[in-house]
Amino acid sequence: MRRIFEDNAYQRDVDTLNYWRATTPNERTCPALDGRATTEFAIIGAGFTGLNAALHLAREGADVTVLDAHGPGWGASGRNGGFCCLGGAKASDAVLKRRFGEAGYRKYRQTEKAAVDFVDDLLVRLQLDVDRHSSGETVLAHRPKDMDRLRREAEEIHDEYGVDVELIEKADLAAQGMNSAEFHGGLTVRKGFGLNPRKYVQGLAHKAVTKGVRIHGDSPVTGITRIDDGYELRSPSGTLQAKHLLLATNGYSSDDLPEWMRARYLPIQSNIIVTRPLTDDEIAEQGWFSDQMAYDTRHLLHYFRLMPNRRMLFGMRGGVNATPQAHERMRTYVRSEFDRIFPAWTGVETPYFWTGLACLSRNLTPYVGPIGDWPDAFASFAYHGNGVAMGSYCGMLMAELALGRKSHHICPDVIKAPPARFPFGRFRRALLPITFLHYNFLDRP
């Protein structure tokens, strides 16, 4: 495998202090692939994308096998902040409009909304209790000029998504239970909710198995070969032959699985801390009692939410390296940002800290579609840190594509455009063996 970060990022116990992992025990053991097996649809990756694809295919009576390097939700799906919200692309409105036209742009925005509704409906249909809370999402301005922008954009957002929006002026933040000197007001968009992502992903796995899907854990795919009538996937303990291939590895992808993926994605680290439960006094002292899931307008995005059990979850992107030492430094840094924003809580312990990989594409848009010119092979990835809704929805869309039928689900051109390659390919991070490559180069005739 040719992956982008250090090996530590991909080892099983990299996130032992993951709050979800520590408090939501694994209900299911998924045996490794054993020997030779065949299936109609093979899915690589048992996260939101892969399991939604599996579930969707199984509901149509298809024969489905999912392989995961570790197990359901081991990657970003079991590590994220649990923000089921609008989003998925990072490209600006202007660029999306230029590339896809006004209509294409609007259709994409409707897709973001459809993705949240999709998860909402799914949770109801599967009767999953995932500790939901928050009425939409609140974005907080970290400078007065960002508040000006939110004021300007409020109407536009209402228009584009067809959702209710409410501006909160700085003076009203405290009354709304969002007191922090850091913020100059905010905008609530009434779409989306917070959830326990691990309960969600385990619920998906459980339901998929009930529907006859085989899920193999500890089965990292180390090779994909085209065969006469489909694909052969190899893992250390077995091989799986399939007619159809669905790739759902997102930030945990490998540049050679398959070769088409090379340089089409860029994993980036995101980091989360979770406090112990806050007392009433502590909550009163900070003046933060809102259960709105929130993020700020900083480019260096912070995201946070007071969960129903009164633990504060606080996350932040960043980190060049994925070594234990680098993660420890990041833990200190995230904590210092938390302390600045919530000064009354500087004495509150944050026993949980973990890191996971979100995924970008060079186009800054998600992708669902064919793997190059391979027949019956599809990939779905690059949700830009908003995979709870968009990853789930795209997994379902990928299943529709694999079934080869016209979907009644909204599928905009934005997500059909294959991601361009980062020109440096696997040199896009310098962590791969440079020495080796250098000698290769010198050895060339």
Partner: protein
């Protein structure tokens, strides 16, 4: 309502044609280097006279490297200097690389010239000095690909040296509230730097100098740390 960081790359030079096919142009190397900023990159071929309309067209401006000297008489240099001053006055942020480092210094009142130390090639290590609080904890070292014979010789007023080496006194400059510039090339991967050196071996560059530089290629650089530093500490992004 996606608002991504707008990164404007001012292209002041081009890689040798035979390398551009494999490695892309300098703006795409910059885009790759800064990809973790999740910004939207627009490039402007200022070397062909194609300038942005306004410094407000981007949040962060990057000036690339170039084979030209900032003291040479090229038609794009004076307007570029003017643009740098306007970006500063407009409160925009800027990062200069190699030629960009030098032209920022020149535009803001410093002086640039050929160094009597000759070419600086290969991975150079610079020591952080007087590291400003705004940029967080000082890194242990700054380690970047070098490819230059010009150097900043006189500092512009207000500029602060933040990294230095025996070969290059003013290896990194900090312009409080405005920008950062580096003599090295954080956007170069070792493979590109290596091929660039070979392409000039025996013509522009002495073969033994190239061989010495090639022997440094395996050393890790801190290019990604620098991108992270910009991401985290650049004021107001």
């Amino acid at each position: 309502m996606t608002t991504s960081l707008r990164i404007g790359v001012l292209e002041t030079g081009r890689p040798p044609e035979e390398l551009a096919a494999d490695h892309g142009d300098y703006p795409s190397m910059v885009a790759d280097w800064l990809a973790p900023l999740e910004g939207e990159v627009t490039q402007y071929a200022v070397l062909d006279g194609k300038f942005p309309e306004s410094p407000d067209d981007a949040d962060l401006w990057i000036i690339t490297g170039s084979k030209f000297g900032v003291y040479e008489n090229h038609p794009f240099i004076a307007p570029l200097e003017d643009f740098i001053r306007r970006a500063r006055d407009a409160g925009r942020k800027m990062v200069g690389i190699c030629f960009g480092h030098q032209v920022m210094a020149q535009a803001l009142g410093g002086a640039v010239g050929k160094s009597d130390k000759g070419w600086g090639l290969g991975v150079h290590e610079y020591t952080p000095v007087n590291w400003p609080d705004e940029l967080g904890t000082a890194p242990e070292k700054l380690s970047l690909q070098a490819y230059h014979q010009d150097q900043v010789k006189t500092l512009p007023e207000g500029a602060r040296v933040i990294a230095s080496s025996e070969f290059c006194d003013y290896a990194a400059l900090w312009y409080p509230g405005f920008g950062l510039s580096v003599q090295g090339h954080p956007e170069f991967r070792s493979e590109y730097a290596s091929q660039l050196l070979n392409s000039r071996k025996g013509t522009l560059l002495a073969p033994d100098e190239v061989d010495d530089a090639q022997s440094t290629m395996a050393k890790p650089t801190t290019q990604h740390q620098l991108a992270e530093l910009i991401r985290i500490h650049f004021p107001d992004l």
